[in-house]
Amino acid sequence: MAGSSPRRVVITGAGTVNALGRDVAATVDAMAEGRSAIGALDFPDVERLSMRIGAQVRGWVPGDLFDGARLSLYDRFTQFALVAGREAMAQAGLDAVPGDPTRWGAVIGTAGGGNGTVNDAFRAVFAEGKNRVHPFTVPRLMNNAAASHLSILWGLMGPTFSVATACSSSNHAIGLAVQMIRAGMADGMLAGGAESMLNFGGMKAWEGLRVMSPDGCRPFSLGRNGMVQGEGAAVFVLETLEAAQARGAEILAEIKGFAMTSDAGDIVMPSVEGAARTMRMALADAGVSPDAVGYINAHGTGTTANDRTEAAAIHAVFGARAGQVPVSSTKAMHGHCIGATGAIELLACLMALRQGVIAPTVGFTAPDPDCPLDVVPNTAREAQVTTVMSNAFAFGGLNAVLVLGRV
């Protein structure tokens, strides 16, 4: 790439499907109201689970959203990604990518990929004794299905791939898309995450780890007892600041900094040092000091281990300001959407930057001395912020932090 200054990457479109809403407007309205979408799960064999709550997308009728011929190729996670992608492109004012389509791609984070398709196929052969599964089982279940269908639908002929790093998948996907645009490998990307594991097999696996809450997600709260799953997708249109300004696009935010690191420690237990190191690196990449950050969207899963560790890491990075900077976990509203969670949570970051509303941590009952943070308990708050941070700390010890700012 010519030019001495690095390319700046901005968000010009955003789209989502999650239990809070079928689009960005409904989702941020719910976040501002502090509404939780967690409720009783509804799918076959749910009565055989011991954890029966989640944030499920209700009343989803794929036949109303896609034409029949294509639909048989779309797992639920792909459906979510495509609907979110459609909204993101419309928001960006695009009916086709601007410029050279060989320089646009898609990167979508997902942990489970077509987990529902796997569940259906296994049920057919193991439980129902069938000897045949749907012929498109493999193209539906593959982790890159959502990214590939986005590329097919929008004619994106540049780099397209999926990222599967558990709870960090979305932040990694968005961060890598930023790096590819910065590096000149692409001029624009659709980036985000998609997940749908709310089925009997998917939830049975999670239940086994004994980290799920039977009664609710209460991040950073005394007496919290685990995570609650959600599902959905969020997709963003990313392009250079220069290109966005040239075509007169509305700029939602700039992605100023990104860092990804590994703890190289435990496969499930988080690390204070790893989380703190990643936050510092993302701030350094953005060229801003911790003092500039006006809101942190926490990973905040509601497990005892994550929230305690994350609070300690925020204290290590933010020092005396750690107790003052607003920190919230929106997972108590939309559930932990695993590979999609960082993308959906980025909507809370955009709300803070653009509307001056800090999403609350709902379900909060009492402060935990292990988590001495201002978690914006239960009720949203107005605040003018110019720089925000979004954390994701995944199983496998994989950390991903994004820093966003106003343009």
Binding site: G208, L209, R210, N225, G226, T304
Partner: protein, 88 residues
Amino acid sequence: MQDQIIEIIAREAVLEPAQVRPDMTLEDIGLDSLGLVEMIFSIEETFGISVPFNANEPGETRFDLSSVGSIVAAVEELISEQGTPAVA
């Protein structure tokens, strides 16, 4: 039955059963959080019982994890409550 429970605990801690005494804590035998979850799974599968345990609130359960001896007693109680052992 006590021997069988201790055998499971020892296996998860990568010890010989003879090295595991009832007064030892999970820390003493070097069992971490993942090892504990796997041990509980193994106990459930072996005896056909369900053990109430959430890793987020290990102290809240009536399944007393304070020592090897307390675990053995808790398993024996669950077996007597929940039915005949699946394995003779």
